[in-house]
């Protein structure tokens, strides 16, 4: 209950951002929410299943490209969005074969899948627009009703990300979520208990791809363009870093990590010329001194107090 209140308070605080009247802050906060949701999809695999995927950028991108192509091709939002999420889920089902491996092999096979998607986005220009990507994506509209500017779009993103966070919290505390933890900690024992562990990991992988797909849909609508940058390895890697930086295994952590990374990149970069070095130092410091991420900081503060 306390957590729900905290989430509601954060959502309420974020709802004041458009009141600043500055599209820079509105746009940046939206990007934090979208990439935070992508980081949640990666963290689901890292923390709940114990596998580090490097292909979530591909799910993110395939959903974003699907929305872009269908919306610019005149499809209504009510058709484009389900089609985009289905595309991400289908790709998740195909790439899901990688859960038959583990550890380093899982990382490498998902890396290869991710690079395949990037290569299609970059080179098949007739389909994807290549490096130019697809531009002029309209805002979403259902029966003619929808946001007309950045601030209104912000509330759509906030609401949908909030909804996905609630769904996510429900999944990780469900019986299914707990069996995933069991597989992560002692797979052979779970097998001995009669669980089909590969099937469960496969389902988890597809769920992760759906979350990444929803993030991709929101990305396409907020940016109003999609380019191969959405499918780049950096997107997948950074999503994992956001989760670890903020606090893997928590709902807030990935968003906290997204805030720090996007903040350094878009605000601190204007003040510090060598900002990528600063970013590196922050990573090192967090990994060395805050193994539970920035969320772990609150625990430390509480303990330090008498």
């Amino acid at each position: 209950m306390g957590r729900l209140i905290l989430l509601a308070a954060i959502a309420l605080a974020l709802a004041t951002v458009p009141m600043l009247g500055n599209p820079f802050w509105v746009g940046l906060t939206m990007q934090v929410l979208v990439f935070g949701l992508l980081a949640v999809s990666v963290d689901f695999m890292i923390r709940q299943v114990g596998l580090f995927p490097l292909c979530n950028g591909a799910f993110f991108a395939v959903a974003a490209y699907t929305v872009a192509m269908l919306e610019t091709g005149g499809w209504p939002t009510v058709a484009a969005v389900p089609a985009a999420i289905a595309a991400a889920a289908l790709m998740g089902m195909a790439f899901g074969i990688s859960v038959r491996t583990g550890g380093v092999y899982f990382i490498l096979i998902t890396l290869a899948f991710g690079q395949m998607a990037l290569s299609v986005a970059t080179s098949w220009t007739a389909l994807t627009g290549g490096d130019n990507g697809i531009t002029n994506i309209p805002y979403p509209a259902v029966a003619g009703v929808g946001p007309t500017d950045l601030s209104q779009m912000f509330f759509v993103v906030l609401a949908l990300v909030g909804l996905m966070v609630l769904v996510y919290a429900r999944i990780i505390t469900s019986q299914f979520g707990l069996t995933l933890n069991g597989i992560r900690d002692a797979e052979t024992r779970m097998v001995a208990l009669g669980y089909r562990t590969v099937t469960r990991k496969y389902v988890a992988f597809v769920i992760s791809s759906v979350f990444a797909g929803v993030a991709g849909v929101l990305y396409a609508y907020t940016n109003q363009f999609v380019s191969p940058a959405a499918a780049s390895l950096l997107v997948s890697v950074e999503a994992g870093l956001m989760a670890i930086l903020g606090g893997s295994g928590t709902v807030i952590g990935p968003f906290l990590g997204a805030t720090v990374i996007m903040g350094i990149r878009n605000i601190v970069s204007a003040m510090v010329p060598g900002w990528p070095i600063l970013m590196g130092l922050v990573f090192i410091a967090v990994v060395l001194f805050l193994p539970r991420g920035l969320v772990g900081l609150t625990g430390r503060i509480k303990r330090a107090r008498p």
Binding site: T16, N22, P23, S119, T122, G130, N132, T135, F225, R265
Partner: protein, 407 residues
Amino acid sequence: MTARHIASAVIIAGALGFAGPATAQDDPIKIGVLLPLSGGLAASGEDALHGFELYWNQAGMEAGGRPIEIISADTSCNPDNAINAARRLAFNDEVDFLVGPLCGHEGPAVAQVSGDTGLPLLLVPAAADSQTKWDRVPTVVRTGFSSSQDSHPFGEFLYNDLGLRNVTFVGQDYTYGQEKTLGAVRTFEALGGKVDDIIWVPLSATDYGPVLASVPSGTEAVVPVVVGAHRNRFFETWFDFGYDRRFQLVGLNLLQADALKAVDDRAVGLISVAQNYSQGIDTPENKAFIDSFVEAYGEVPSYFAEMMFTTAKWAHQAIDAIDGDVSDRDAFLAAVREAEVVGPRGPVKLDEYDNPIQNTYISRVERVDHPKLGSVLMNVPVKTIENVSQFWTEDPEAFLARGPYQR
């Protein structure tokens, strides 16, 4: 505690958001420059920024009776960052117009902010054909070049000047590479030339051994369109594997100034690149530019630096023409569209689609003695084609109807 934190965050954010209004006549004109200043293209971004700063320093940081303030923002060659950086310049720094970006895929992102806000954008050096053809934005004017612009005369150069009839292209497999390659393929074939093969090389490729091994044996010449680190990879493989004894090498996009730093005298005599600039142009404007750039930064300027230098001069002429009142955006854009500028690259003016009409230089590598740099490899024009339009000799409507160069 938490509430106070949120309150102070809101106040700080507000203060940053609402930086004071100012457009009085003695206030500076603020120019927002979007370039990659970190990441893989940081060196090119910095070089471009140098070109821009060099011009304004020479002009006394002043235009139309008002001081000039340059505010640069790092895009790190990522469209998501570029869109944020453009919005930051627009709303927090309240710049009067934007200049940039460098990477092709950042172009649409920055153009979108320009279209949304009405803030004029001088699009340079990002070269995607579509932005002055199929996806034009009314507030966006290109001061660089279009990818395929220099390829059209180059295709005819292959046929008419070099007398080649059978060639193989090696193209980098992304938008710029496809546009630059296919532009030359079209004009070469239109004259009756035969393209034996186009070998597409992904940006992720690291080895040119297999690529060159698949060049058809009957071909006369190989025409590479490769970018970044691929240029030196291609060059090394070409000579190490002895392809120089089998085929003629004619670079359409092979050795720009920055790539020349890492090659040796095997490059001397090679056709290296077709572009809107060549370091060896023999005009007083270019010699003065090269000398002052070398003086200031200790190296030969790249074509990025030249494009930003000429863009600065272009903006200067436009600002002077409207007596410094850049708050009238329509007047500023009109002045940019009317200006005729003579830069180091030669005379430049815009066509009706907001793309520069300018010279194409086909360059050859030569070893030259520079008074400050000593003996260096430099691109020197072997052929100059004057006043080249992005549509070459074709009717614009017919060109547009045919659609973009893509696979």
